[in-house]
Structure formats: C-alpha cells, structure tokens
C-alpha cells in the first residue's frame, strides 16, 4: 500500500529525520494560510498516487501567499493520469546546495532490505545507477538487527561522500532503515534529500509503500495518518472482473477462491496453493501461454465457491480454456475443486473435457477427485507431473499443439 507524499513525510518526521515546515490541505484558502506561516516562496504539490505530476502541472512555485492559493485552487481541480488529488502539500521553497538520495527497498530474492544511497538525488535512482554507477552505494542489512552507524557510513562513504556531510547523513540513513523495518515497508525513499546552504539536511520528498498484509500490525500509524480500512491504494482501480472475483470469495467463509487479477490472454487460470499460483502463472508465461487472469484458490473452499470462480473465468471474453492447477502443499481437497470446476462447465453448457485444458491438483481426496475427472473425460495429472510440466501441457493444448 502506497502512502501519499504528505503521509510519507509525516512518517519520516516521526522517525526523527528533519523535514521542511510543510503543510497539507484540501482547501485553497488554507494553502494561503500555510504559505503565510511559512513566510517566503513556496512549492505547491499535488497529492496523487501517480507519477509525472511535475510534467502534468501538478507542482507549481509561488512567491506570495496569494499565488500559493491560486496555484492550490488550480492543482486541486487538476486530474493527473486519471487521479484527482487528495489535497495539496505546501512546502517552503528550500535553498538547496545539493540533492542526495536515500532509500531502502525490499529485496525479494535475498529476502532482506537493501539500503541504497547516492549523492546524486532529485532524479530516478535507476537513471543514476545506469549513468553513474560509482555514485550509488548499496548494502543489504538484517531484518532483525538495526542497521548500525558503521554500516550506514560504509554505504555513504562508498559513493565518495566525506567529512561533515558524511557524519550528518549517518543518523538519517540509519533512521530511515529503522522506520522501514519497524513499519513492514517494501519501499522507503527520500528523494531528494536536500543539503541546505548551511550544511544541514532535510527530506524534501518521500515515497513509501507498506506491505499490504502488514496493515493489521500498523493500525495506529494508519489511523494517525487518516488511512481508512477501505482504502486499498492499489496501483489501479479494480476492474469489474476483479470485483466479481471478490464477490465470489465473499460468498462464504470457507477457503479462498478469488484474489483475481485480470489479464488479456486466452487461457483462464484456476490456480493456487502456498505460492503455487505465482509459480504457475510464471510457468504458463514461460511456455508462451497468455493467461487471462491470475487468481488464488485454496484452503478448501466450498464447491459453490470453486464453481463461482471457474464460471467467472470461463465467462471472461476471450477465454478459450481453463487450466486448474495447484501445488500439493495446500491440502485443499481435490474432489471438491473438481466438482466446482466441472459444475461451472456444465452450468454454462460446456463440455468439461473440452474446456478444462488440464487439471493438476494432487493431494487430499485425490482418488475421489480423479474418479470425478475420469467420468467427465477431463485430462488430469497427479503429483508425478510437475507444476511446470502441467503448465506446459495446458499451453500446448490451448495453442492446438496437443489434442
């Protein structure tokens, strides 16, 4: 879940990292009052969860409070990439000597956070890494132990920063690492981290993402920031297909049959189990298949729920066949899912043997499940067939390579 800039700034401030004397408002008149309090030139920034706001006119500079009010009024009415602003942030226009970058991101491969630092800030860190790789310092650190001062110093110093700047940056970087770990974040970035004319540092902008699944652990922080439970903050609005998937999953409490994400391929997926859904989705793509959707099924959903999910996928325009595949680790009953997906085909007037490219769910009650599949002529595979091989067979079938 992504935070708005004004929320991220608050998180930064609470962590003890210096920020400017900014203000957030949803009213143009209040923007004027904030500018008067600041007492100098200001920057008015649209608060949207999308990029490109500068180019779109969502960031404007004001010399007077009246100008700040006028800009705020314009920006509050300005839609950027389909997003209306939550409000505006009124920020002092800082006299910056140099812009730095400090960030922490989650490295899913190493399963550790990685600290990234650069004395070249204000632009995308990816661009700096490509054009001036020697100006980007990185270091993985522990999920449990705090990033120590000397570790932070090593990262910063590796980019050529020395002296007083190095000493002043160390606590900022260690506090950023601490807030990242404490708040279960996947991204905590200060860019730019401005060095003012007097040599002090201040966070001029911040981007933060918290792990969705960790929201329950941070209810107080979210409540303090005014983030409601209903705010999903996904990268895009859910499609009608995805909303229908949520409805299927909500039909009863048993198991999971939902978490649908829409794609535009022709192979519908009814997949799941302990990370199996991601693996299977990737495997289908690796074999040249075009998934129509991602979803998750597992934890012993009811037959009606499995049926509802399969019907939803089968009815999606462009779907020719579905592949029903799971890892063995879920212990979801094979016969229950078999009943659900076959029932979906029958209720829609399809021949299950035609519509189900492959059924690969081994595990609990598989003997019963396989009897059901045999009765309807559905191709199935047991645990001797890998997830990868099952995905390959499904793709071959939909591409007409296999009968």
């Amino acid at each position: 879940m992504r935070f708005f800039e004004y929320e991220a700034r608050e998180v930064v401030k609470r962590a003890g990292i210096p920020v400017t004397d900014y203000g957030f408002t949803t009213e143009a008149s209040e923007a004027k009052q904030i500018a008067e309090r600041i007492g100098g030139p200001t920057v008015i920034k649209s608060q949207v969860l999308t990029g490109g706001r500068m180019k779109a006119g969502g960031v404007k500079f004001a010399d007077t409070p009246e100008e700040a009010e006028a800009h705020a009024r314009d920006i509050l009415a300005l839609e950027i990439n389909g997003h209306m602003p939550r409000g505006v942030l009124v920020d002092p226009k800082a006299e910056v000597a140099q812009e730095y970058y400090a960030g922490v991101v989650w490295d899913g491969t190493r399963k550790q956070p990685v600290m990234i630092f650069s004395p070249v800030g204000g632009i995308d860190i990816e661009q700096v890494a490509e054009e001036q790789p020697e100006k980007v310092g990185r270091r993985h650190f522990s999920n449990i132990l705090p990033l120590s001062d000397f570790e932070a110093k090593e990262v910063i110093a590796s980019t050529g920063v020395t002296g007083s700047a190095l000493n002043k940056l160390v606590p900022i970087v260690t506090r950023l690492a601490k807030l990242f770990v404490e708040n279960d974040m996947t991204l905590a970035e200060i860019n730019p981290l401005g060095q003012l004319k007097d040599g002090s540092f201040v966070a001029l902008d911040a981007h933060m993402d918290i792990e969705n699944e960790a929201r329950g652990r941070h209810k107080k922080l979210l409540a303090d920031l005014g983030v409601g439970d209903e705010e999903t903050r996904q990268a895009r609005e859910a499609t009608p297909f995805e909303l229908a998937g949520e409805e299927v999953d909500a039909t009863d409490h048993r198991g999971v049959a939902g978490n649908v994400t829409e794609f535009d391929g022709n192979l519908g997926l009814v997949i799941g189990a302990g990370g199996g859904s991601l693996t299977l989705f990737d495997a289908v793509r690796a074999h040249g298949g075009e998934p129509a959707n991602y979803c998750e099924i597992g934890g012993n959903p009811s037959v009606a729920k499995a049926c509802g999910l399969a019907k939803l996928v089968l009815q999606k325009p462009g779907v020719d066949k579905i592949a029903v595949m799971m890892s063995i680790v879920s212990n979801t009953r094979v016969d229950i899912v078999a009943r659900g997906v076959i029932k979906a085909c029958l209720e829609l007037g399809y021949d299950p043997a035609e519509k189900i490219a492959i059924f690969r769910i081994p595990g609990a009650w598989e003997e019963e499940g396989f009897k059901i599949l045999e009765k309807y002529g559905v191709e199935y595979a047991d645990r001797s067939v890998s997830l990868n091989e099952a995905a390959r067979r499904a793709v071959e079938k939909i591409q007409g390579v296999a009968p």
Partner: protein
C-alpha cells in the same frame, strides 16, 4: 425420499424422513446443511447443498442403519460406507 445433485445424491427411507427427532439430529450433524427440518418437523433435503457433501459420513452415523444413503453419482452410484 431422494434428491440428486450433479455429483451426490442422498436417499432417506420414508419412515426415517417422517421422524422429527431424526430430522433434527441429521440437521445438526451435517456440516454443509444438506438436511433441514420442515415446519411440521419432517425431514427436507436441501438440493442446492447436495454437491457440497464432504463425504464425512456423519449422517450415516446419526441415522439407523440403512435408512440414509449417500450416493456418489460419479462412481457408478456407489454408496458411502458408514464409518
């Protein structure tokens, strides 16, 4: 009485179906609500729930022997054996 789903059928002898005490027992025993009790106390089979049967056999345990049969329509009408 008998009701058929797509995969599961349930058959209850007429005598057992008329027994209000047994109807209450079956209604309580079934974890997926295949059995219900009508206002007059007689047993009703809830057709929409038949295919939800998890083959637990609790209804067979609750009822006198051979009065309730759970039939697997996908397996040559094989009957679920009492536990």
């Amino acid at each position: 009485m008998r009701a058929d789903g797509t995969f599961i059928a349930v058959e209850v002898s007429d005598e057992a179906a008329a027994d209000a005490a047994l109807a209450a027992k079956l209604t309580e025993a079934c974890p997926v609500d295949i059995y219900a009790q009508a206002t007059d106390g007689a047993l009703e089979l809830v057709e929409r729930n038949l295919d939800e049967c998890v083959l637990c056999g609790l209804c067979l345990v609750a009822a006198p022997q051979d009065t309730v049969r759970v039939i697997k329509l996908y397996d040559g009408e094989a009957c679920l054996a009492a536990v």
